[in-house]
Amino acid sequence: MNIPKYIQKGNAFIALSENEVINQSKAIYKDNSFVFEQDEIVFIYLDNYAKETINLNIKENVKVKVFFISYHSRKNEIQMNINIENKALLNLYSNFIARRKTKVNLKREFNLGYNSSLILLNNITYNGQLRLDEKINLNQELANIDIDLLNVGGRDDLVYVNQQVNHKAKKTYSQIHNWLISHENAKLDYYVNGTIEKGNELSNCHQLNKGIILSKKGEIKVEPTLFIDEYNVKASHGAAIGQIDENQLFYLLSRGLSEEQARSLIISGYINPFINKIKNKSLESQLKRRISSLI
């Protein structure tokens, strides 16, 4: 398995391919499950892996930060189940990289216990077709998630994302921020759904979707939905999709920036808050390079 140097260099990592599993982390590996019993920062590297369901289990009170990097050069289907036990924290950054233009389907199911947290950063700058289905179950009180997703599509990329958050207990919290940019012929299709079942009062469910279309043929479609069967909750959803704001453009031009510089600054302003959350220099610069090559 050819593991990129930036992953191997001084980092704890888990690497999976069709033929091999390398575990250089504190996680215990058994029956295709990785159990985290200690706090850790770890890379999970997938090299065209599509064999069996990957299970991650974050034990009670444990805090884990995972940089999940998945490389693809052929059609792959990946399934993951992630269990975050009581008072545990998973900070998960995901990036899907195409070695050549291809199609990938990823299904992930998250289950959260009492007062557990999931901070999810999804970087989608994939060349090809990507389908991401994410189901998040907030099973016990005070379980909370914060999702930021950045999708920059170029050429004829096709991205379909389905985010489903189920509030299955009282006082649960979810927040989704999707930042979408479509360039050239890219088509980005999003279904964002939050469900609060009856009796799960004092829960919060929020969705914010913003999209910029930079070309005539680019498309962004977002359907934010809320299904709420309880009165005593706070919920919000919305989607704002358009071109670069003309007022912002005029303001920057009026200070001497060329149109190209102004557009580039506005776009970097749009994506920088996401990049700043990654907290890994090589992954941050990798993403910046990727985005500049796309737009």
Partner: protein
């Protein structure tokens, strides 16, 4: 160094807003343009900056004798025109530091490089002079700023970019008494023979701190009267009706039109 509007006619969506403006501003001069709402004062500033919503129907704008009407917005800015806006725009994710640095770099030649240390020192001292607080460099451009902070940030940009001609469009709105005094003093400090200043305002209070050399009254898209400080006092006491009576100006039957950009929420 001169900026001259010659018999300028400007329209928006088929409505003529400016109707034959003639105005000459020399370097070192401060002009105040006053007038009732909707007479075209802001339009004059926006047209000079090259806002695409406005159409120059006839006439010309000359910068040192050369027409700038066909120049793009950024070309005019690099030439030395600055517009301190009535409603400064928020640009999320872009820090003040990066923005002003980028703006300064556009004014440099191919072989010139921005001396970052010197730039930081100037930014910090200007920020202090305007009482903007220490974290300004890393705050996103105008995002979450109070009305007063936005206006002071316009002055900060003016001081950093050192333009040759500056329009300050209602820079006094949204400022409390202390902030108004501060802004007035800072703008006055910036006055020199290298800066032509055009102040657009409704009120005398700004002009207590930035004393103009010329006062113009604009009504119905034209400058109808020019004078000096005595005009400000009279306007403050009596409004504009006396000008209309004196010059026999009748109210126009205006059709509504949308400028579209004022105080709209940014999408991004």
């Amino acid at each position: 160094m001169t900026l001259e509007f010659k018999n300028l006619y400007v329209s928006v969506e088929g409505n003529m807003i400016l109707k034959g403006i003639n105005l000459k501003v020399n370097g070192g001069e401060t002009h105040a343009i006053m007038g009732p709402n909707g007479t075209g004062k802001s339009t004059l500033a926006q047209v000079c900056m090259g806002h695409p919503k406005y159409k120059v129907e006839s006439g010309d704008i000359l910068f040192d004798g050369k027409s700038i009407v066909d120049m793009s917005v950024d070309e005019r800015a690099r030439l030395g025109i600055f517009l301190g806006m009535q409603n400064p725009i928020e640009v999320p994710g872009v820090t003040n530091f990066d923005f002003i640095k980028a703006a300064l770099q556009t004014r440099m030649g191919k072989d010139e490089h921005l001396r970052v240390g010197k730039f930081i020192l100037k930014f910090e001292s200007t920020s202090q002079e305007l009482q903007m607080g220490k974290g300004l460099a890393h705050r996103f451009l105008n995002q979450g700023f109070s009305g007063g902070e936005k206006k002071r940030n316009e002055i900060l940009q003016m001081k950093m970019l050192e333009p040759k001609f500056t329009f300050l469009d209602e820079i006094d709105s949204g400022l409390d008494v202390d902030a108004l005094k501060l802004v007035g003093e800072q703008v006055t400090k910036q006055k020199s023979s290298d800066l032509g200043l055009v102040l657009i305002t409704h009120y005398q209070r700004l002009l207590d701190y930035i004393v103009p050399d010329y006062v113009h009254i604009m009504i119905n898209g034209n400058i109808v009267k020019t004078g000096s400080l005595e005009l400000i006092t009279k306007i403050d006491q009596e409004g504009y009706d006396w000008v209309k009576k004196e010059l026999g100006i009748e109210e126009e039957n205006k059709k509504p039109y949308s400028l579209g950009t004022c105080a709209t929420k940014t999408m991004v």
